[in-house]
Structures are given as structure tokens and as C-alpha cells.
């Protein structure tokens, strides 16, 4: 059981402050959705949780089970059980999906994983994501379609078995079939491995397949509203504008 705690997080890039005091707690087994309009700071939060060097934390803390992560390098955060599914996964030329997965798994262990164990885990994961095993001999993300890239992200999540995963707009750029496969993959991983997930989305479509217990709305670098699934339904109906007005009226 792990707990990711974000306390009063302020983050800036070179030119401006993007997050202005975010508080959020995600535990193993919980499904959270973070919704917000473009430019509200969603991707900044995702990247900052993993320690991207371009984002500077000016105030506040990120904790995993009480341990401060602020000074840890990205690979150290990964080894503690955090995972980020990228909005725009980068191509890794010359390295097959399978070889990359093996390297990533071995990076988190003392002893290299046994060939047979790796093989059976990979078989299980490709079935879960409804991809052909030959997919894993292609170079990671190199020439992949949008849907293939997102499947490769969830495939990595399945193999690395994080405690807490952040999914940054995993639903963007997907057709409906790819979206269903990816979302169902996440739901199965949640059921099987009990991963805690922070699902960041702009369109909410992914939430038709993965039902979050907790919903947060991010605007202008702050979480302005929290609730349950009913908040998704309200957004679906009304869009962001009424919420923006309501927040302004209460301020």
C-alpha cells in the first residue's frame, strides 16, 4: 500500500508559474481523474511528479509514503514505484519493445529477470493489451501509430507493475477502438495489480471505460473542485464555463 501525496505544489518553467498550490493524494488501489481545460497545468503536474528537469518546484512537496521526492532523479522515483504514461511517447530508435522492457525491469531489480519469467509476463501483458507478440520486436515507438504508442505505454505499465501510475492524456489521439483497448487495459491492471492511478484527461472519454472514484478539476494551476463520478457527468453536460464562473463567484 503506497501513498502519493502532493502538498501545496508550486511549479514554474523558465518563463512563468504554472502550478500555484496543488494538493492531491493518491493511494494504491484508488482511481483518480484529473480534468481541466487546455493550459491548466495538467501535463506540468504529471511531469513534475516524475522529476522532469525543465520544471522547477518553487514551493511545496511531493511525498511517496512520507519520503520527499523533490530531490530525487526520475529513475529513483521510478524505482520507488511511480510510473508516467506519456501524452507524447518518444521513439527509442534501435531498441525493441521487448529489450527495452527487459532493461527497465532489470533496472529495478538486483538480479536480472529470468528469460522464462520475462517471457510469460510478456505473453500475459500482450494479451491484456490485445497486441500481437510480434509487436514487441519492433523498435519502441519508432514509426508507431498513435494507438500503438499508447498501447506500448500501458504495456510498459503492465510489465513494470508500479504502485502509482500517472496517465497523461492517454486517451488523446485515439480512435474509439484503440481507446477502448487501452482503457480496458488500465481497468484490468487496476483490478489485477491494484495499481493506484491518476488519470489526466481533457476529453473525459476514457472515463466511459475506467470509472474513477475521485474526480479533481484543475484550472489555472489550482484544483478548484473535487467530487465523485457525478462531477464527470456534470462536465459532460455543461463544459468548463459554468464551473469557472462558480469558482470565480466563490473566490
Amino acid at each position: 500500500m503506497a501513498e502519493l501525496q502532493i502538498r501545496n505544489l508550486h511549479v514554474r518553467t523558465e518563463d512563468r508559474e504554472i502550478l500555484r498550490g496543488v494538493d492531491l493524494t493518491v493511494r494504491t488501489g484508488e482511481l483518480h481523474a484529473l480534468l481541466g481545460p487546455n493550459g491548466s497545468g495538467k501535463s506540468t503536474l504529471a511531469n513534475t511528479i516524475m522529476g522532469h528537469p525543465s520544471y522547477e518546484v518553487t514551493e511545496g512537496e511531493i511525498l511517496l509514503d512520507g519520503q520527499a521526492l523533490n530531490e530525487l532523479a526520475p529513475h529513483e522515483r521510478a524505482r520507488l514505484g511511480l510510473f508516467l504514461a506519456f501524452q507524447y511517447p518518444v521513439a527509442v530508435p534501435g531498441v525493441s519493445v521487448a529489450n527495452f522492457l527487459r532493461m527497465a525491469i532489470n533496472a529495478q531489480r538486483d538480479e536480472p529477470i529470468k528469460v522464462k519469467e520475462f517471457g510469460s509476463q510478456l505473453d500475459h501483458a500482450v494479451r491484456l493489451l490485445d497486441v500481437d507478440r510480434s509487436f514487441t520486436s519492433r523498435h519502441l515507438n519508432d514509426g508507431f501509430s498513435g494507438g500503438e504508442k499508447k498501447r506500448a505505454e500501458i504495456l510498459q505499465m503492465a510489465m513494470l507493475k508500479p504502485q502509482i501510475a500517472v496517465l497523461d492524456e492517454t486517451d488523446s489521439g485515439l480512435d474509439i477502438d484503440a481507446l477502448r483497448t487501452v482503457a480496458e487495459g488500465v481497468a484490468k491492471l487496476h483490478a489485477e495489480q491494484g495499481v493506484g492511478a491518476l488519470i489526466i484527461t481533457h476529453y473525459q472519454r476514457i472515463l466511459d471505460y475506467v470509472k474513477p472514484q475521485f474526480v479533481h478539476i484543475l484550472m489555472d494551476g489550482r484544483i478548484v473542485m473535487r467530487g465523485g463520478p457525478e462531477l464527470v457527468a456534470r462536465l459532460e453536460r455543461e463544459g468548463y464555463d459554468p464551473i469557472r464562473e462558480e469558482v470565480a463567484a466563490n473566490a
Binding site: 516524475m50 526520475p74 529513475h75 521510478a78 518518444v90 531498441v95 527495452f100 533496472a107
Partner: protein, 464 residues
């Protein structure tokens, strides 16, 4: 009417003897043509050819090549007369351990200036395959020797080339008669065991009509002391419909080895060559690697990779020559530079007059791993026919921070991520070696270089 041009500002007008302004590019073209056209000394007995080469050696000064606007490759400082040609009387009983006991059609090892080991599969010997020192070939197979020796190599473009033709000893000779398809490779190894020496190496290989082989040539040294020279000459003739997969792997270690080598491959009618030099270390490397498609329907894939580190100096001139058409070519090189190394890749496509329906493409990709390293790419195209396609392309790469971050989020450390990027950069070529053991040898050597350069790569990555 004579061509006139306005006088340039500041020039002394009307001075007698002012040279006529040259068409842009003319000097460049002349330089390239000179690089291709020397005088050969083949078709004659060896003693005669050596005498011609010796005369050229005595006449010529040590070379300097101007490779780009920034720097030159020079051997003017090399005290060539002081270098010893080290000979060994004994032969080795076994093949070198690094070959790993892999099945081979044949193995020939030259240590310093002597052939130290020769073995040839007995069945192949019975079927007419010849593998022996080049000295023995000149004596025992004079007709074959004189038909091919120096057919495409020149002796007088620079002093080192002349020295190689005049002074080589040992050497490797391979002849594969028509109609043999061999899977196991021929392995030819040049080792330098001590610094302060000169190794004049010469490999002559012929694959006769319709035969198909794999050929490997290694140039290896440990960490030697003192200035050392490897002057290599390599010639491979593929007769009609012959096929060869040729790999050349050189790593001269951490000493002061100067490797000035010329390799030529001739591809006859309907023949095919896949050629991959891997240049993995040496204080100063100057390679002229030339593949000539000389017969209709000839085709080739010319791959190459290099990794320059520390203060190494590497200078590759790769030539894709089409003497007749239809013919095909596909040139793809990749190079990385770390430390304070200097590397230059000059790639020339030359399509001769009348070589219609020649189609070729040259690409070069580079990756810079240090702020103090320099890496230049200079592509040139000389075309003398109108129904052809000849083009070039390439990329200049640095370490991609987004890619490093991506891998870090999967648990890889920065050095691990950099290693994956650089290995991935070379991987499309390494897999084309099509031999797991050789592929692993090249990967391991690249991995060792990366491990040695980890600190400077880290500094470079953080400095940007």
C-alpha cells in the same frame, strides 16, 4: 569571345599573370578526381611493382589532407623511417581467442609484419579455394596474382600508399573458384603487438563467377607505446554474379597508432557486395574506402560506422563509384564523436559518363557526444550521365533530453539511457552484420567506449 569578369574590389587590377577566375567548384572537382586517379602498378611481376612503388615513396612527401574548412589530417610529423618492421619466425598453433572458436571457412592472422597463422577448411582446399600469405601467392599462383594484384589500387597518390606497395610483407590472399556458396566466414586478422613499428598490410581477395562468401577483416592492437603505423591495402574483386558480405572491424586501442588505409571493392556484372567497415578506435585514422560497380546489373550496400573518442582523429573518404549502368548503390554510414576527437566523413558519389540507369543514395548520420568534439559531413556528387538518380541526405544528432527523461521514468539511470541512445543509433547497421557473435563484439566495444566516456557525456548533457 573571352569570358570577362569584373575585377574584385581590392585586387591589383591589370597585373600580368593574374589567374583567370575559376568556375565555382572546379577546384573541388579536381581535388576529388585526384583522390580517385593515381597510377596503378598491377599486371607486372611483384619485383617490378615494388620498384615502381619505391620510386614513388622516395619522391613523395608525407601527406596532409584538407578535409574541410576547419582542419586537416596530416602525417607530416610521423618519423616513418624510424618505424621498425617487426617479424616473427614462429607460427601460432591456434586461431585467436577473440574469434571464439566460431566455424570458419578459413583463418589467416598476420602479427606485425609476419603471417602467424593460416588454416583452411580441408574440403574447401580440395575444391580449389586458396588461402595463403600474399607472398606465397606471388610465388605459387603467379597468374592469379598478376591478374588481380593492384588492379584497382594505386601506388603514388601519397607516400604511405607508396610505402605500403613497396614494403608490405606477409599479406593475405584468398581465391574462391566459381560456383561455391559458403556460409562460414573467412577471417583475416591484422594484429599489432608492439608500438614503434610499421605494419604494411595487404589483402587481395577474389570471388570468382557466381560464388558467394562472407569475409571479415580485423585490425587490432592493445594499448601500445610510441608512434605506430598501420598502412593497409585491401582489394576485393567480385567476378560476374559473385556475392560477398564483407565486414572490416578495426580497433587500434589506446596507443599512437596511425592507420592510413585504402580499400577497394570491385563489383562485376550482376555481382553484389554488402560492405560494412566498423572503425572503433585509433589515434589517427585515414581511410579511403571505395566501391566500384564495374559491370551491368552490379549492386551494392555500403554501410559503415565509427566512434571517435579522446583526442582521436578520424578521416573517412567513402567513394560510391558507378562505371556502368544499370547499377545500384546504397550507402549508409553512422558516426559518433566524444571527448576532444575530430571526425570527418566525406562521401562521394561518382557516376561515370555513360553509366546510364545508375541509381544510388548516400546517407550519413552523426551523433555528437561532447562539446569539444567535432564531426563534419561532406557529401559530394559527380555525375556524368543524365538518366540516373544520385542523392544524399543525413542527420546531425545530439543527445535528446526528452528521450533521456522518458527512459529515466522507466528506471534507467542517465548513463544507462545515454548508452541505449548511442547503441540504438548504431543498431540499424550492427544488425546488418548478420552474425550474432560479430554483432556482439562490435556492441561490446561500443559499450566499452561509452563506459569510458560516461563522465564527459554527463557533463555535456548537463551543460546544455
Amino acid at each position: 569571345m573571352p569570358e570577362t569578369t569584373p575585377p574584385a574590389a581590392g585586387s591589383s587590377q591589370g597585373t600580368p599573370g593574374t589567374p583567370a577566375p575559376r568556375k565555382a567548384g572546379t577546384a573541388r572537382e579536381a581535388t576529388l578526381n585526384f583522390a580517385l586517379d593515381g597510377v596503378g602498378a598491377g599486371g607486372v611481376p611483384l619485383a617490378e611493382s615494388r620498384a615502381l612503388a619505391l620510386a614513388a615513396y622516395e619522391r613523395l612527401a608525407l601527406p596532409a589532407w584538407r578535409r574541410s574548412g576547419f582542419w586537416t589530417t596530416t602525417l607530416e610529423q610521423l618519423d616513418i623511417e624510424s618505424l621498425e618492421q617487426l617479424t616473427h619466425a614462429e607460427r601460432d598453433a591456434d586461431a585467436p581467442a577473440f574469434l571464439g572458436g566460431q566455424d570458419a571457412a578459413g583463418i589467416l592472422v598476420q602479427r606485425d609484419s609476419s603471417v602467424a597463422h593460416v588454416q583452411l577448411n580441408g574440403e574447401l582446399a580440395q575444391r580449389g579455394v586458396i588461402l595463403c600469405s600474399l607472398e606465397e601467392a606471388a610465388q605459387n599462383h603467379p597468374q592469379l596474382f598478376e591478374r588481380y594484384y593492384l588492379r584497382r589500387l594505386q601506388i603514388d597518390r601519397h607516400k604511405i600508399e607508396a610505402a605500403s606497395a613497396a614494403f608490405w610483407s606477409g599479406g593475405a590472399f584468398l581465391y574462391v573458384p566459381p560456383g561455391l556458396e559458403l556460409d562460414d566466414p573467412f577471417q583475416i586478422v591484422y594484429e599489432i603487438s608492439r608500438g614503434g613499428t610499421a605494419q604494411y598490410a595487404h589483402t587481395l581477395a577474389i570471388v570468382d563467377r557466381g560464388s558467394s562468401i562472407r569475409l571479415r577483416e580485423y585490425g587490432l592492437a592493445g594499448d601500445t607505446e610510441g608512434d605506430t603505423l598501420h598502412a593497409g591495402a585491401f582489394e576485393l574483386y567480385l567476378e560476374d554474379a559473385a556475392r560477398c558480405r564483407l565486414a572490416q572491424v578495426t580497433d587500434w586501442g589506446g596507443g599512437r597508432v596511425h592507420d592510413v588505409s585504402t580499400s577497394v571493392v570491385e563489383v562485376a556484372r550482376d555481382a553484389y557486395c554488402h560492405w560494412l567497415p566498423a572503425l572503433l578506435g585509433g589515434a589517427l585514422i585515414h581511410h579511403h574506402d571505395e566501391i566500384a560497380v564495374a559491370g551491368q546489373g552490379g549492386d551494392m550496400a555500403f554501410r559503415g560506422l565509427f566512434f571517435a573518442q579522446r583526442d582521436e582523429h578520424l578521416d573517412v573518404f567513402a567513394v560510391d563509384l558507378h562505371e556502368t549502368g544499370p547499377s545500384g548503390g546504397d550507402v549508409h554510414w553512422r558516426g559518433a564523436a566524444s571527448g576532444e576527437s575530430r571526425a570527418s566523413f566525406e562521401g562521394l558519389i561518382k557516376i561515370n559518363q555513360g553509366a546510364q540507369q545508375s541509381h544510388t543514395y548516400l546517407q550519413f548520420h552523426s551523433m555528437l557526444l561532447s562539446a569539444d568534439a567535432e564531426l563534419d559531413a561532406i557529401p559530394s556528387v559527380l555525375v556524368g550521365a543524365d538518366d540516373v538518380s544520385a542523392s544524399h541526405g543525413g542527420t546531425v544528432g545530439e543527445l535528446d533530453e526528452d528521450l533521456i527523461f522518458y527512459m529515466q521514468t522507466r528506471g534507467l539511470t542517465r548513463p544507462q539511457a545515454v548508452r541505449v541512445i548511442v547503441e540504438g543509433f548504431f543498431e540499424p547497421l550492427i544488425v546488418q552484420l548478420d552474425d550474432p557473435q560479430l554483432e556482439q563484439l562490435v556492441r561490446d566495444r561500443i559499450g566499452a567506449k561509452l563506459a569510458g566516456a560516461a563522465d564527459e557525456i554527463e557533463r555535456y548533457a548537463l551543460a546544455r
